[in-house]
Amino acid sequence: MEAVKVQDIAVNDLPWKIEYNAERCTMCGSCVASCTFRAIKVEVQRKSVTLSEANQPVPVHRQLAVPVIKQVADVNCACRGCGMCEKVCPNNAIRAVRNVDNRRNLLFNRPIKRGGRTNLNAQRTLDKIIVGRISQMTDPSLDSIRHTFDIRSPLGRVLSPKELPVQTDGGKLVMTKKNPPVRWIYPLIFSDMSIGALSTRAWEAVAMAAAYLNERCNLPVRMSSGEGGMPVKLLESEYLKYFIIQIASGHFGWNRIIKAMPRMKVDPAGVLIKIGQGAKPGDGGLLQAEKVAPHVQAIRGVPKATLSSPPNHQGLYSIEESVQKMHLSLNAAFGFRVPVAIKCAASSTSVSVYNNLLRDPYKICGGFFIDGIQGGTGAANEISLDHTGHPVVSKIRDCYNAAVEQGSQGQIPLYGGGGIGLTGNAAADAFKMICLGANGVFCGKILIQLLGCVGNENGRCNACNTGKCPTGICTQNPRLVKRLDVDRGAQRIVDYVLAFDLELRKLMAPIGNSSLPVGRSDALVSTDKAIADKLGIQYVC
């Protein structure tokens, strides 16, 4: 008999336990081969069995050495609940089960890093808002199939009517000089997930979906590159116009981007300066050395090392400076032909930032992207994921209202993200955000979930940071990447966006709008009094 050593790690300390049915197991080994976390292993167990092999019962007692699948009792190899073993098992012999009594937070003697979304703060304001103002009788609903809808959003600095460089000439208006660049795009932006955070193939699948939606479906969906550069071939191709190139504090990939500039055939859709990210505000990007494969090193121009983007853009001390230095230099880099927008983590200070951008005399900020706490990340300290950030819904509303107060709504387009599509229905989320004042939304996590990511807000998988992504999406391991079918993945994103478009019309039609109801808060009601009061919409029950 063994004495209990209480400090030993046992399987029942871990967040997920493997439920294994030896009778069903055929010992094919697929589960062990598929587990990227080495959470299960094959082990030989001594087994005491009584069996009879003769024609008549002749029971014999034997001690056998039998191979079994066993969970590894080690926090470093803890099961993540990704379910690959269950997926691959031909005989339903194994599955991961959540262990509610786990002691995970107590076992790690260092800060826990993981990817995915917040496990706390996943409450859904948007689900307590209903599109409650239905057009009937005097103002008829539109027909979502028969009528035409104009679903486009601006990306770029919009001038106030009195600032427009126009004059009357012979009864017609003519432009006296150029407007700042404004792109009219689809109100759903594929959010910034870098090559590096994503496998090249996963990034490619998202990019393929974006290109297909543009070329074949007439939906001008734009994709942000993420802070990791882009393949030179793409930079020098016609497809660059579908991409918003991101620059973040690490400036990763910009060496190549700048070198490719003279050979760019078209301008990119925009440049997005990432100041902060909703899932880990105040913290820079992080790409662990495990994921810095040779091609990532090449694109980013770095050695194999853990790549930390600083929390701040070095040398920027104020919003004014940010506007002058970064916006101006990036605007200048592309000849003032490409809108330059900025992305910040939602924060209780977002309105101040937005006000400053609105008042900037150069009028060169082409969009304000606010990223809420429910957004995803490839790697973060869990404490940041769960305990820092700010919900995005009221923040978008606050910023919009601040602009309304000054009569400058619409001049710097507002895009909201961070949890859009958290429950799977991005169209409803987007629509409500738009009614509250957003010009559009951006989403990332749902795209990789469409590709096959199994992570969720309840601690499932979320191992994006480890390089062991079991779906081949967030890893640079070539064997794992092969698990991802790029074409099918892209197709699922395309199908989803087409459904999104249809659903958006299904929401616009009943409120009688054929163009986006930006700021039409009167179309919304809330079943929660506090939410209704905060957002300035009708409370209903």
Partner: protein, 366 residues
Amino acid sequence: MCRIGAVKSKKPVYPSTALRLMLPQQEGHDNSGFAMVMQDLSGVFALYKDKPLLSMACTKQGARLVEDYMSAKNFVKMAEWLPVPNKQKGLDIQTMPYYIFRNYDYPEHYDDAESREALLLDTRLALRKILTESNQGYVYSFWPDVLTLKEIGDPRDIATYFRLWDDNETLLAKNIIVQCRQNTNYKIVRYAAHPFFLQGYTLCANGENTFYTKNKEFQKNLHRGYIGFESDSQNFLYTLHYVLHELKWPLAYYKHVITPLPFAEIAERPDKEILLSIRQSLAHLEINGPNTIIAGLPDGRMMTCCDSKKLRPVVVGGDDTTVAISSEVCGINEILPDRNSERDIYPDEREVVVIGNDLEVTRWKQ
């Protein structure tokens, strides 16, 4: 729902013409009120066409407050018409004690058009504030050669009360814009009845502006005169005023502001740069929902256009001396039965129809 109408004539017409235009359409409205704006007046005001005319309804105390204010601001009273109402029993009308229509001369030092326009607006806004705060009445317009009459009740009875059926020589005008409903889906408020008036621009609308909140939130910062918002149709007037009076753009661009072309169509146009600029910078003035508008411009021209899906009707018909715009053709049939109805115009969703002062009709697609 509303029905709206307008009469534009080479010869001054009586208000009864406007009433006869509207009454056949009564199945489409609820007969809950009557409102009209008359422009290019004859009758009692013919001699004072260049002097601002104040149109108001108030109590005795309200009248005194207004008089005090006007004399304090050095306005000089020139002429006045106080209707002598027919107070017969059984009329469906919610009357105010006094209806005052009074011409003033400008105070000294207001010699140029711009300062006069500002003065008249500021005066009307000040009077409105005084009367609203004291709850003593309503001021509808203060502008040369423009008279506004609004009241709650059955339009026929309102006309009887003001003796409009008599066709006496007191009230006549070449341009009348009219509506027969105390319009609003919400509270009955006199200010919510269109036509609305601002600095020479008159407008009434038949419909529902589903971008009311957007429009309102944007407009309230654009101009001090953009106030009230008792009706979602005021948005149309304020945008008309903004585009023509503030931005000083040609009339053709009004339609591009309220019902911009779809992006795909803009891309095909030679003037796409301008149209896109308008669409993006004036996005919050776009209207949605079913609408028809009829507007009167400061120079006497009238225009009509519809929403971008043509969800509300309107028809323009006329003869050599009179042109009428009406929600329904039955109204025009009543006042112009002998016109050639084959020449009636039913504007489509992209069309603007303008009637000039010589009754020449101009129409174009936006």
